[in-house]
Symmetry: none
Subunit: 125 residues, 2 copies
């Protein structure tokens, strides 16, 4: 039995707030729940809040990249918000600069970024 990460809906945006260190099964469940919710709710985008995470290692980095890729093929944008300064420094030192993942400082900025992206679709990546 594992806990599931809750997926909240705010307007047309889905919010995933990661509060604890995730185990493998929780990550797989989250990917499944989230892709189902994106389609069911016709979401404009996904915001992943990692404010609570003190460490982002390559496992978490890969999870963020995978979630962003799944959302993208479903036509939905993902923005990671709330990264701590120390986490950003560690990520870059480790050479994990989260390719393909959009980031914003705060939840508010992340939601604005999604709205802008929906109004002005970007060039093909």
């Amino acid at each position: 039995m594992t806990d599931r990460v809750p997926v909240l809906k705010i307007g047309q945006i889905l919010l995933v707030s990661i509060q604890t260190d995730l185990e493998d099964q929780m990550v797989l469940d989250l990917q499944e729940d989230l892709s189902q919710r994106i389609v069911d709710t016709n979401a404009e985008g996904v915001v992943i809040d990692i404010t609570a995470l003190e460490i982002v290692d390559s496992f978490v980095g890969r999870m963020l990249a995978t979630i962003a890729a799944i959302s993208r093929v479903l036509g939905s944008e993902t923005v990671v918000v709330g990264m701590r300064p120390a986490v950003a420094m560690t990520l870059v030192e480790l050479g994990l600069s989260l390719p393909g993942v959009r980031t914003a400082l705060t939840l508010e900025r992340g939601m604005e970024q999604i709205k802008r992206l929906n109004q002005n679709p970007t060039a093909i990546r």
Copy 2:
């Protein structure tokens, strides 16, 4: 004798709805029909609906990328819509994240995306 995939015209947009697994010849016919129709109808864009597909393998992925590329050199945008959550997850797990292919959740959103792209042409790719 092989069936052909129908290409419908809705306003200035061409709609291709893929209902069955495609064989090689059907894919070639579709590419030919579609490029001819883009030119004949002066279409603003192409929407490919894959709601009916339960599996998108590398063959289908390549076909979508090829159609998008053909449309692009003809000056027309392509958006793939109706991808199922399970299909999105499988694609990403297989490393097939459809580079160069735009996606949207629903037919409606796909058509909106094409209209916006025509109003705001993006930078050279």
